[in-house]
Symmetry: C2
Subunit: 410 residues, 2 copies
């Protein structure tokens, strides 16, 4: 099946927003075995949308549209599809009842132009939108499919996953597509690809790698009659993946390094405190982005000088002898985090990876230490990048991954 994606909205052509919907949809289509050959953005202009649809209709089996299904004059997606297939839009009584009900519940009269959100054409069925007022359209005609969904990302994601994808999977003749993301740190993408080479040539399940800001993602997907059957197909591949990559896999699906560390801390009844020099507060900030951390996070200190380190209990002799940027000082910071803040686990981070201008040849230094109930372990690393923000982000990732591994073995 050949697919193309069309994103509608003049704001896309002005560069006011970046079209993240198209990339997200493309990611969903790959594991279905659907090839995407074209992606386009077009403004809110019916003649241009129709022109693009005609081209798409001539070269693709599946056209996925986002945006342009709101209530205003500008919104031209329904009108353009109707013009393309030569059918007339009419108000669907059931959709009208639902739409008016939405406005009644809000205690406001419905602007009459909104009625176009309750229209259909003979070839279209409705894709309900529990998160907004605009239902989508699923159009089938002459062996082709057009899916029209909202441009608001979270409405579109749900409509795709809950409504559109299952319909398309049925057309493809498979029952379900089931996917799991394995998140990997400590290895580069080409390394991961090489290590799991035996797995990435399969067709069902498929395995593929993606480089992301929080590591390498390995996506395993299977088509089967049910989730359980898909899981059965994925099980041997995932078992082999775990054998090959081991502890480099730090999380699955929506889990993050912080949620994994938080869970490990909770399981062990440990409370964490952080002393961070070159990450400048970023590790504390990432931890406090997660929910449910009040039981496991005591707080953080961001000392920006040797003097402040010593003031807050980092061993003065060590700081004076080795300087603020050293492995010995990182170890003393981890211990100070535990002692001064009354934590079970102290994380100490030092290095020059907050400084700009490092290169592959001359990476920033990174010293990581974790003190778990008096047992101190440390690791030296190097990070390169072009901006302070990028270097800090990579250092924070390495620090939380080191914490994860120490917690695993504690």
């Amino acid at each position: 099946m050949k697919a193309e994606i069309i994103s509608c909205g003049t704001e896309l052509l002005l560069g006011h927003i970046v079209d993240t919907n198209a990339a997200w949809l493309a990611q969903q289509l790959a594991p279905l075995g659907i090839d995407v050959y074209y992606v386009s953005q077009v403004g809110d202009n019916q003649s241009r949308v129709v022109g693009l649809l005609k081209t798409a209709w001539s070269r693709s089996d599946l056209i996925i549209m986002t945006g342009g299904i709101g209530p205003t004059e500008d919104d031209a997606t329904r009108e353009s599809i109707s013009e393309l297939v030569g059918e007339t839009m009419s108000v669907d009584p059931q959709l009208e009842v639902e739409l008016r009900g939405f406005w009644t519940r809000r205690g406001r009269p419905m602007p009459e132009r909104n009625i176009k959100q309750a229209t259909l054409i003979p070839s279209a069925s409705t894709l309900p939108n529990p998160h907004g007022t605009a239902p989508g359209w699923f159009v089938e005609k002459d062996g082709r499919i057009i899916v029209a969904m909202p441009g608001v990302p979270h409405e579109m994601y749900r409509m795709w996953k809950d409504q559109a994808e299952p319909k398309i999977v049925r057309r493809l003749g498979a029952g379900v597509i089931h996917t799991r993301i394995h998140k990997v740190l400590g290895l580069g993408e080409s390394q991961v690809e090489e290590m799991i080479d035996e797995l990435i040539h399969g067709t069902n399940p498929t395995a593929a790698t993606y480089a992301k800001s929080d590591g390498i993602y390995v996506r395993v997907s299977a088509k089967a009659a049910s989730i359980e059957a898909a899981d059965g197909l994925m099980a041997p591949v995932e078992a082999r993946l775990n054998e090959i990559l081991g502890e480099h896999i730090y999380a699955l699906d929506d889990d993050t390094l912080v949620t994994v560390c938080t869970r490990l801390l909770k399981e062990r009844g440990h409370r964490l405190a952080v002393f961070e020099f070159n990450t400048g507060g970023l590790v504390a900030s990432q931890i406090t982005d997660a929910s449910g951390i009040a039981d496991v996070f005591i707080g953080g200190i961001v000392p920006f000088s040797a003097a402040m380190m010593k003031q807050f209990g980092v061993d003065a002799t060590t700081v004076d002898a080795h300087g603020p940027v050293s492995m010995k000082t990182a170890r003393a910071m981890a211990t100070a985090a535990r002692h001064v803040l009354g934590a079970d686990v102290g994380l100490g981070i030092s290095g020059t990876t907050g400084a700009e201008g490092t290169t592959r040849q001359n990476p920033g230094s990174l010293y990581l230490a974790v003190d778990i109930s008096g047992n101190v372990r440390s690791e030296e690393g190097g990070i390169f990048g072009t901006t302070a923000a990028q270097l800090k982000a990579r250092a924070a990732l390495a620090a939380l991954d080191f914490l994860r591994k120490q917690l695993l073995h504690s």
Copy 2:
């Protein structure tokens, strides 16, 4: 002039990367008065690129392409343009010397397939790429222009600004386009639009608003024979903008809230320390993303409990009487930041804006206090959002903006 943007790369069609280049280019074209009607992404496939180019050639005066100019077989942009205009690529002796020189300086032999990066066609001139090996093409034929640039964003940005844009501006008959961004906080986009309504209907200079994560941007652009002449046209509009928006304008162009605060601190010879509760380290992290802060930033404390606040010198009577989330405690935190860390300026941040699930009806609370040499000022605010990360980001923005205003008046 009608333009369209074509981004080449199979990774775009797989959703591995989001096409931020197209949005960036669209933003550059709007102030030139160039309309963008279509944006497309296409894979590394010559016949599909040529097909798209033919359509673009029939409907647009200016085609801007990014990606596909690397040395590999996959890279099809040069070949596709040559096929479109019916011209043969040949190696340009000067480009070959430069390309081989690049490899010689690296002490490595040039892979022979890379020679295609030194080719031209009769209608193309070179756009030098000081940041990479792939020069761009500027093609002029039959009254149409094709610009082909690298897909790597920082190489493309520079090539556009330094090479391609000036050429196009000359074709448009204006000498230069000069633009300045005025960044605004404390007002919504529709409020700003309403306030500066008298300015946004002009044609030279133009003024337009954009909502960004760090506030509302007002972009003022003028076309003129020289930068100085453009500045002359912009001056009265910008003077009026300053009159209307006053201190809501926090920065110009590449300046950020942090660089502005850093400069204000330096000018006053002040050193800053931060005590942050609900922003959880994010303010310290944003400050340490900037360069040259060692003189003005002492460090930060991220206390995640009332106990830790008291341990680090926040007045215990105040914390006990009013709780960690209160204006009185925020003021005591600002003073503690100054006293405990030996700073001239202490910033104290408390509130519930790190907690998820706030709504427009029930926003998170935010208490901000700044102690400058013993003079404490404070402000109460409310922030809403859907994730802890979003709420924290908005609270941090409000905190740094409050700090900026207090520094301005100190």
